[in-house]
């Protein structure tokens, strides 16, 4: 059988590099196949996605190409993906950056409009696509009020409106919690089944995605190192390439709770609402010195708002937050940063300058410290964060993980007692997660940590205690080992009656 997509001796170089991002790749993908591409960050997954979707070379044409990609009998390098007989649709990372229209139906209609189809057919396709993703009731709604999961659905619909034969996804579930991610994957499964679409997915979440795919290839440094659906059960192989193996075990929680020592942070009856919409309701908890607290919750559970309030960036409507026995509001900004530092979700958003050294020394620069002091702080923190030699690099030219370490270093220069990490591993590969666990354990020796995440496996590896936050309420104040096991599958929490455990 002739393959639907044929990648032949394909190599690709980005314009400013000598090492190829993809090296002499050979890959045949048959019609109806569902392929999962895995591999560590920088392995060439995203580049392969861009090449198969035709965005390289039709949108980004600055690199060098050797070899061929054919779709059906057409050469992808000569025909743009939207003019192919077997159209290729692509859903890239970060749905919010891909949507630009004012209303959902306009977003979905954009593709067919570009193809110059008559109005009646555009309307028909728009409603077909929205129905396929379960968003037909929202056709007239503005795009600004959608959750991440809904945005992802609109992205998928806008590609379906092309009636593609192939759909390519670059990390469709990164940046979304597991529950929503599962729903998106189920949707992809259903669309592929109903519309007979060939699906190619690049993902880190092997456990979830491998359930809907029938073929797995592993990429490393631009080369295919395995093409075997069973490879994910080989824990040794997976660990070598920093891929999440299928049979990961839940980490036991760290040592027993630290309940002696002084309480460094106390939250009492904290309530917060935004535009008459209640975000946090009556939260009370406290953290002991050198404790590592995990806060678990899905998207929209109020986790990030809690981080902002704890750092004193947002003011609570009711309740009190005491750090070292003093309300957070009584600290001046310059004092507050010596008490508490926050790493926000997505390291890109934590970056204020374009050079690593400037980024790390931002707070000292604001405080007008002397050059000697600044130099000392810079060298100390570069060493601590394993970033030696990075001081003159561009903040956006280093990897995602490195950027995150730069952002942590820029907090550490103020020597805060407490560090808050908001979703530090979302959308990151398995290796990055492992690295971050080690880093957090190291930081916990000198700092009190609060880690916010929707990933219980990860939280249990670095926390003494985990709170479960749901719809702005603390549902469980103390997840013990048994519960961790029980929730390891992270069953949608609304279907489980959670017992409330005394603190």
């Amino acid at each position: 059988m002739k393959p639907l997509i044929h990648v032949e001796n394909f190599s690709y170089w980005y314009s400013d590099t000598e090492k190829p991002a993809l090296k002499e790749l050979n890959l045949k993908i048959n019609k109806g196949e569902r392929l999962l591409i895995v591999g560590p960050s920088g392995c060439g997954k995203s580049t392969l996605i861009l090449c198969i979707s035709g965005l390289i070379p039709h949108s980004y044409s600055e690199g060098k190409i050797k070899g061929n990609i054919t779709v059906g009998s057409e050469n992808l390098h000569r025909t743009p993906p939207y003019h192919l007989k077997n159209k290729v649709g692509v859903v890239l990372q970060n749905p919010s950056a891909q949507l630009f229209s004012l209303k959902i139906k306009d977003e979905v209609a954009f593709g067919p409009q570009n193809l110059g189809l008559p109005p009646e057919e555009i309307q028909e396709r728009v409603y077909f696509a929205l129905e396929a993703v379960g968003m037909e009731k929202f056709a007239e709604n503005p795009l600004t009020e959608l959750s991440m999961g809904q945005q992802q659905r609109v992205c998928i619909a806008s590609m379906l409106a092309f009636r593609p034969a192939i759909m390519v996804f670059d990390e469709p579930t990164s940046n979304i919690d597991l529950k929503t991610g599962r729903k998106i994957l189920a949707l992809i499964d259903q669309i592929s089944e109903n519309q007979n679409i060939t699906v190619i997915i690049a993902e880190h979440r092997t456990k979830e995605v491998s359930k809907i795919t029938d073929r797995v290839i592993v990429l490393n440094r631009g080369e295919i190192v395995a093409d075997d659906p069973q490879i994910l059960t080989d824990t040794k192989f997976c660990n070598t390439y920093g891929i999440q193996p299928l049979n990961t075990t839940i980490y036991p929680l760290l040592q027993s709770n630290i309940t002696n020592g002084s309480k460094i942070l106390q939250v009492e009856n904290l309530t917060f609402s935004y535009n008459n919409h209640s975000v946090l309701t009556d939260l009370s908890f406290s953290i002991f010195e050198r404790e590592s607290l995990g806060i678990m919750g899905d998207n929209g559970s109020g986790k990030t708002t809690l981080a902002l309030i704890l750092a004193g960036v947002l003011k609570p409507k009711q309740g009190s937050i005491m750090i070292d026995g003093k309300p957070i509001g009584n600290y001046k900004r310059k004092q507050a940063i010596r008490k508490i530092g926050v790493l926000f979700q997505n390291p890109d958003d934590n970056i204020l300058t374009t050079k690593v050294s400037n980024e790390i020394l931002y707070a000292p620069w604001i405080q007008r410290l002397s050059e000697d002091e600044k130099k000392k702080l810079l060298n100390e923190n570069l060493a601590l964060m394993n970033l030696k030699g990075y001081d003159n690099k561009g903040t956006f030219k280093i990897s995602y993980g490195e950027r995150e370490r730069v952002a942590i270093a820029s907090l550490l220069v103020s020597q805060p007692d407490i560090l808050i990490f908001d979703e530090p591993t979302t959308g990151q590969d398995y290796k990055h997660k492992q690295d971050f666990i080690r880093l957090a354990q190291k930081l916990n020796e000198t700092h009190t940590l609060i880690t916010i995440s929707h990933d219980l496996e990860f939280l249990s590896a670095i926390s003494n205690r985990v709170l479960l936050l749901e719809s702005g309420k603390i549902m469980v104040t103390h997840i013990n080992k048994n519960m961790a096991q029980k929730h390891s599958r992270q069953i949608p929490t609304e279907s489980v009656q959670l017992p409330t455990v005394e603190n």
């Binding site: 630009f100 593709g111 570009n114 008559p118 001046k332 530092g341 958003d349 707070a363 907090l411």
Partner: protein, 276 residues
């Protein structure tokens, strides 16, 4: 805000709205008479009432318009000068019997000029607001496309409208980051300082975002054909034709005024002379 408004399907075609408001703009730019401009402003207000907008929106509009009027009227009265030979009527504000500050006042002509200026601007602003509030942005874009506005330009317009809230969101994120690095972003001084510090990162983030967007546009076949179509099929109804005829009348009237076939520019001044 748009979603809270109810766009009725019987609303005028956006193309017609654009043409009508342009003709209206042309007419009131040619007229320099306070009384007629006042009447035109009242006409726009009537159109506002007919549009059946939510009461909240209307009251907000009326308040802003009143404030705008007060500001424009006062500033143009205070800062206007008038040539000595045109000074006709002097209105004493503070009677001359009061020592030192007494005897000051303003010329009625200046008042009239201020009224003219204020009502012209108010009519323009109210008209533009009315058109934008009663037209769905996507229909407006379709209208621009039908009026032969280049496709790339209309897409740019949409992206701009859409990216304003995103930029605000990004700004809030950056402000929070700056906050945890020790910069106060609240209070007037804090805000002004943070503008200086956060502007560059905002631009950097926007550029990065726009690069991602470029991929998305290309993936969906932006400029795949020379003649992209629209989903909205705009068709003119009888009300639209009526409005077009009315617009033609407005344009004709402004040409008549410009050619000075008959003088309507001095009605208010003549009236004023009669009264004073």
């Amino acid at each position: 805000m748009q979603n809270s408004l109810n766009f009725s399907s019987s609303s005028l075609d956006p193309r017609v709205k654009l043409i009508a408001s342009m003709s209206f703009l042309m007419l009131i730019s040619t007229i320099h008479d306070a009384l007629i401009l006042f009447i035109s402003f009242i006409a726009v207000l009537c159109a506002w009432l007919l549009a059946k907008l939510p009461i909240k929106t209307v009251s907000y509009f009326l308040k802003s318009i009143a404030l705008l009027f007060a500001f424009m009227f006062l500033s143009s009265t205070v800062f206007s000068r008038i040539a000595p030979k045109e000074r006709l009527t002097f209105i004493e504000v503070i009677p001359a019997v009061i020592p030192i500050i007494g005897g000051s006042g303003i010329y009625a002509e200046i008042l009239l000029a201020s009224i003219t200026f204020s009502f012209r601007t108010l009519s323009l602003v109210s008209m533009a607001l009315l058109v934008s509030l009663t037209t769905e942005p996507s229909r407006m874009v379709s209208a621009l496309r039908k009026l032969r506005c280049p496709y790339e330009l209309t897409i740019m317009v949409i992206i701009t409208i859409r990216f304003i809230p995103l930029a605000i969101e990004q700004w809030k994120k950056l402000a929070a980051v700056a906050n945890v690095r020790g910069i106060a972003t609240s209070g007037i001084i804090g805000r002004i300082k943070s503008i200086k510090r956060l502007f560059t990162p905002l631009i950097i983030h926007s550029i990065r975002r726009s690069m991602q967007l470029a991929y998305s546009l290309d993936a969906r076949g932006f400029r795949a054909t020379k003649n992209p179509t629209t989903m909205e099929n705009l068709q003119l109804g009888s009300r639209d034709y009526l409005m077009l005829v009315f617009s033609v009348l407005l344009v004709a009237l402004s040409i008549i005024v410009l050619l000075e076939v008959f003088s309507i520019q001095n009605i208010s001044v003549e009236l004023l002379k009669l009264v004073v």
